[in-house]
Symmetry: D4
Subunit: 249 residues, 8 copies
């Protein structure tokens, strides 16, 4: 941003820009205010997350407005998470989106051709963890990552997980998704030599406390290289994994 | 107890026992009341736990009184758990006990020759879990069990645990002891084909909450055959494991 | 598994098996991967739980696929827990299953003739605990155990429980099921001389916290021989009790 | 208080009392303000608890000041709870008090001759619960109650408790004191036909959470007639029990 | 019960009762086992709660069976709590019951003429606490108590509560019902000179945690004479209050 | 209130008021008791909150009765919070109210012309926090405050918040509304020089625990000048902010 | 800050300021970095809290360095909170500070002459709450407020609190400090007509959970105008109260 | 590992290796068992964490034994975390280690020359967070990373943090360390375009719950790219950050 300010000051000095205008520019909001939300106009200024919409707690009308504002600002590819089937149907009437029922993820535009360092593994413990795994996978693919899914590899049947030792050894990042006791993250991190992002899920009953037990368990992993995101936050794990898989010197 | 009552009633019928005395007998307390505690006189009536003293929260004078009352009632072998080194030293002045500093377990008399169905494995995740593992092991040996210890076999280095697959496969009962994320119980239960008693430990920091995370994690084990005892309760696990290892047709 | 590896190596030495094939075999997955799940082909390899399906969080189509894969692998007897009535109706269209509405347990094939060491008691505190008690009972019967049910024997009316002292004294294992304050486990364990598996239930209101109070209470049992499974986990208790009731020298 | 106001108004009407004085009187503080505390001058105005000092969190100097102010106001009998041995020694230098180390209760003056409806039972589960039981007992005796103690009658050895069925049946109020799983309250309430005041204690370890488990357990008692006071609050239970034991038509 | 046993033994001695029969009698269950529940036949043996049915978690068919068994055993007056309107309608088809929608309390037979020591006050903080207050009130009236209700007397408008000082001063027992911060119990106990039974309610939102905050608050009352029952447990408070209001020398 | 008492006493002295009547007056309830609630007749006696009705947990009939009683007592302007759309429709049949669906706030009469010290800012972190923000805003406007809303200014896009630095600097009070991690309050308080009232919202999922995380986070604000109200309590924040914005010397 | 930027740009335009220097100035850090901390040089830029040091978790050497840096920047009056007696003694060797043992508050320079709108009341429930009350009071006096303390006015003896009705009615802000059930805040807010800042304290035992119960209770106050700060945060309450008491049009 | 197995099989086929020996080799433990611990002999087999010792809960004798075994296996560089000063002094008697008192980190050998992709920022909110920041920094340096520390940049004084915008923008990974409300992670992640690893610290008091509030807050970050490690786990954050900073194509 420094260079922007420098240009601005240079313009002021040269008399190309009036002081009042420069002052205004400095205070100018780098976003479009559509009342219910503020849309960033300049993707990659700040965090570059502008093209992602968190669908929960927004009406489809609100989401439509945000999509319109984004498209208006030139954004072609938009990812929408936690979008109910019902809202997706409504939005489809106005925009061309691809929707995945299992994960409740929608996107406008194409998935991005993989351009990361290598493969990201999305490993999940049981069949009920699939929606979260799928959310992570679609986020990763939207952001340009090669993904390999390992489903139903929970630690109570270790031989299933161990049969993928080669994949685990060659992954760049691994997302470990599990509810109940959440032991998958520790076991994978012990086998892998890359960052492991753990996602607790709300799968389970009784003392699983809708994912809290898995979250705490993952937080206490005795294996190094594990960091944790919120319960059921497949998107967050995918986003961070993509960042890591796109590290540059 | 039925037969006792039957004998009593028979005695009454035959006139061998007066009614008042029978009534008294029926109400007679099957324990010695030494004011601070009530000592069961007839071992194996009820639960047979009479020979075990929980040392915490009792003064050494109180413990001495209880030991004396037990010995008076003919009990030679007594196990004392959670006994501080300080109290143990004091008690040694009056009674002949063996004391283990690491686990804070003491016992009077000899350990019992193994007479169970087979071997009980006491597996613990890390070096800091050793005191609890030792408490379980001494309890098992006191109660007549063959024991094999597996130390430092936490799931972050799976190869260490897997090197004992044979032992795990042939055990009669396994006690799995772990703090932090407590994943050891699930992994072992997935590998074994016998009951697994999980003991969460207070080892860890931060979100381990002094063993609560491990407890919850173990409670939610996705592997079958796991049941859980209280945090750091090596004695309880050992006692139950011994019961199982002494099952009879 | 050792002998398998030995045979394999012997084959390699003898030239009966090519190295590449042996390598492949060693890595071969001992399960059928049907995408949504991985079905163990060799029952009793690992934990032998292959014939049990946890129905919650799976669609009936997924369950149908899993049953088909299991049957394909030669499994006749399959137990399905936490299966809603609705899904059960759908599954019945494809497979011949017996379904119990109260406990939401279904099974394919016959219950197994009792072949355990003795009788397992399933004791529950109140009428509302019956679904969990039934789940435990059906699991036990499916796994070949003689079962005796004691219903509505909560500790607030001790005479009801005490009237079964003989049964309690002669049981091989006891499952104690209770919500609210969960005191039943301690009282039974004090009366019995066998392992007691405590199952907290989500029965109650207010500070029962959907079973958490009962769970904590059971965890702190002052009686020895008690271990605990997750809230409402009748299956887990039944499975472990069956393991204990089938102990062999 | 009505009659006081009536007298006051009568006085004003008669001219015996000046308006300003009456106004003052109505606002007059019915306590002595000694800066660190406000001492009620008229025992039995309001709650009549004026003669009780909660010792924790007060220095012995502060307590001395409060005793002095009370004695100055004519109070002979004073009960001090949660008073450390150290402070008690210091206070003894100034006042004549009786101090009980086990319960940390002190009192000035004599215990009161029993004048209640009948006997109050103070039942406690284990040896470690004795300090709380003693606090309840001394409170009861200070307030004029006949007390019977039942120690070490925890539910894991039911025969000990059952041997006191007669006492339980004839009690006017029962205080049930227990840590760990706190089951004693439910069992006693099931046997008794009088109000049971449950006192959870901080005795236990791990998932006993310093009395919280016992508290929750007692809160969920399936037996009627149970109400609960704070953890380790022997005084509160004794005070309430005394109120009940002194009910008048 | 002693006299029963004495008679029995006497009968045995006299030869009036055969030993086998006496033995049987001693073991005889003092309840009717209707499979889903065990109905006490002898009201007032044990706790005398036989005439109360907790409706939640029972189907109307189960409740009907229990009512029938009770009536069969001679019981005319039965109280049913937590009975949904729907179930009440169904039960009315078989039995003559009075049903109160607000509190979900039903009863068969008449309310009992007040025969207690005096008046029990049922004070509640706000309009939303009325269902719990009503449950307490109906329980009290069913059990023969004079009741006075004080509604909407929460502490944020102290003048409303203070206007009932006379009633508070002359009450025999007070039930204080409040959600949110639960301060009502402390304030009332400070004004009264009789036992106060505090009932936290699940009224509130956010950090009221469905009554937990009120429960904890009441548990920590700085006023003496307060004991607490479970969240929304109007019945429990009423039952205990009735016991206290019926104390006899 | 003193002067009232003084007048009363003066009247008594002068003989203008009979003693019995004065006594009655002193005890007279300054509210109308409509059975389900007690309506304060004298607004601004005590807390002046008489014109506000908390709609949750009250039926529309109850609310209608309360409105009628209030209007009867001369109150024109009434604010109703947490009123469902359904109840609002019903109430509109009897009374003329303005209803806002988003915040579920209704009011009778006009909003009040701003008469405070300056502007109150209502800043909210995301689109889903709007209902709470609106409740705060309407409360403020009802109570006579100039309000400025800042929506969607969550801390993950700091430039949006920073673009309003001028507004923040000149505000008299700021209400900071946020769910999830609740960081908005701290950041705003660091930028502002006026009291900040933080409102946690139940927006979020997983470990947001329906607002508890935001509440705790706000409670621990490292910036001075922050105080916190209950989760989703937009009304409470608005009410307090209005008090502050109307401070007088 | 706008005008600063404007001046800067003007300078650039006029050629008075070089572009590079302007750029630097814009980035210039408005604080002194003393490695362990960053000291704001311009008091009242941003939040004006520069003169306050939080003493806990800092060594006396670190505090000395910060004081020195502050004094160097021209600050005479400095408030230090949570300063142990030991550290205070050490700091006194280098600087002239006034230290209050009870509240662990120290300050350099003079207390400020009251210049607020009126009186702030600091009301605390019991003797053990005095340290927190004192911290609030000293903060208020340091920041220029007239303060009135009301000690030992807990709600269990309502007459003590009610005797100060006049003070409560005329206060500008009230700080209500209480542990245990924290009811004081609600009761005072119901009596007052000004903002009430509630401070939960860690006073109590058992289920007071070191202030959490009081915090939750205060959070749920049924009286309007209450906002809450962290447990034992007397400083925070004093700081906010001072802000409110210094409101200007 | 595949190639190892292949070689082994090849050897068997060729007759170079006997079957029994191959079998043994396959089962051979790739670690040295020194009773109290199992030391991995082959660094970088599995997770490569072999050179790190967690010092807490181990005696200095145990640590000495582990160091000796590691050195024996050829390891020169060893990192020891959570090592008390006392133990460090003892270990220094036997080994040449560098010890940092603030972070309680020790290491044998040299720090590693930076060979990562770029700079890792370690940002901490306040002075009290320094020990955790230092642990992260030393871990990073030990593992070969360029590190930049930003101390005392908590969000309540945003200008301090904003003055480092350039550093934040150019970092490869950022570790954000904060106690209390933990808002730093969200704010930094909003400004940065790289992975942010959040470390909650146990700094704070009252409702900070020794870091739990910060942990939950960070878990709920509204900014993308944030993942979280355990409370005070500076090592874990450093280890993971180093992994990310050493990503290779």
């Amino acid at each position: 941003m420094n260079s922007d300010i420098k240009d601005l000051l240079l313009g002021v000095k040269n008399g190309d820009i009036e002081i009042e205008k420069a002052l205004l520019k400095l205070k100018e909001k780098p976003f479009t205010d559509i009342d219910i939300a503020k849309i960033d106009n300049h993707r990659k200024i700040m965090q570059g997350t502008a093209e992602i919409i968190y669908g929960e707690g927004k009406t489809y009308e609100q989401i439509n407005k945000i999509i319109a504002a984004m498209k208006n600002a030139g954004q072609e590819r938009i990812l929408i998470t936690r979008l109910s089937n019902e809202k997706a149907e409504k939005i489809k009437e106005s925009f061309d989106i691809t929707y995945d029922k299992l994960s409740k993820v929608a996107y406008s535009g194409e998935l991005k051709k993989p351009d990361g360092l290598g493969t990201v593994i999305v490993a999940s413990a049981g069949t009920s963890d699939l929606p979260v795994a799928r959310e992570a996978m679609l986020t990763l693919k939207f952001l340009g990552n090669e993904v390999k899914e390992l489903n139903d590899v929970g630690v109570s049947g270790l031989h299933r997980l161990l049969s993928y030792l080669d994949d685990i050894a060659s992954a760049k990042v691994i997302i470990a998704i599990a509810g109940m006791e959440g032991a998958l993250a520790s076991v994978i991190a012990g086998l892998a030599d890359c960052p492991v992002i753990a996602v607790p899920t709300s799968v389970g009953y009784g003392a699983s406390f809708e994912g809290v037990t898995a979250l705490l368990s993952m937080m206490n992993s005795c294996a190094s290289g594990v960091s944790v995101v919120n319960i059921d936050n497949g998107f967050g794990a995918g986003y961070t994994a993509s960042m890591i898989n796109h590290m540059e010197a």
